[in-house]
Amino acid sequence: AQTVTQSQPEMSVQEAETVTLSCTYDTSESDYYLFWYKQPPSRQMILVIRQEAYKQQNATENRFSVNFQKAAKSFSLKISDSQLGDAAMYFCAYRFQGGSEKLVFGKGTKLTVNP
């Protein structure tokens, strides 16, 4: 079974600084997707960024970028120029490309942004 591990229950960063959230996963599949979701206190999950496993180039969305290491099964999220609005729970998720294509989530990392 696929598993996703986020080893940092909590992280904090100063406003305008950079922070990296870690994620590792376990799978025997070769075709899959990885995601980072943001969940603010309002509870609405919002997709931050996605990465296709077959792509070697790391995905980037404005201030958010990932470091995808397929061999190491590692998928970290870097947030640059952190803003107060970035404070939230961040979940790493995996989806196998096949079957029901359901999302498997990690336990999350709570990010605090200090002014």
Partner: protein, 113 residues
Amino acid sequence: EAGVAQSPRYKIIEKRQSVAFWCNPISGHATLYWYQQILGQGPKLLIQFQNNGVVDDSQLPKDRFSAERLKGVDSTLKIQPAKLEDSAVYLCASSLAQGLEQYFGPGTRLTVT
């Protein structure tokens, strides 16, 4: 474009009572998902519908949980009877089709006392 709607936002019940949650997906979205998110954990898929058919319900506790999606649009998730360990946030999500981006609703926080 309206997002995924869920109601109620909060519900408090006693154990052994029954409860139902409602979800209205984004218009035109064929795939609907129900997730359970226990405090301190990530969401776990309970059931996935493609139109009004079940694609995956492998993690749904079928002795007490049931879900339906009549006419392939709205969906209801029911728990009967509830247990203390059912206290969680229940998230509904939808996507245009299986494998495409999932859009989440605001969730229903259930407290079982």
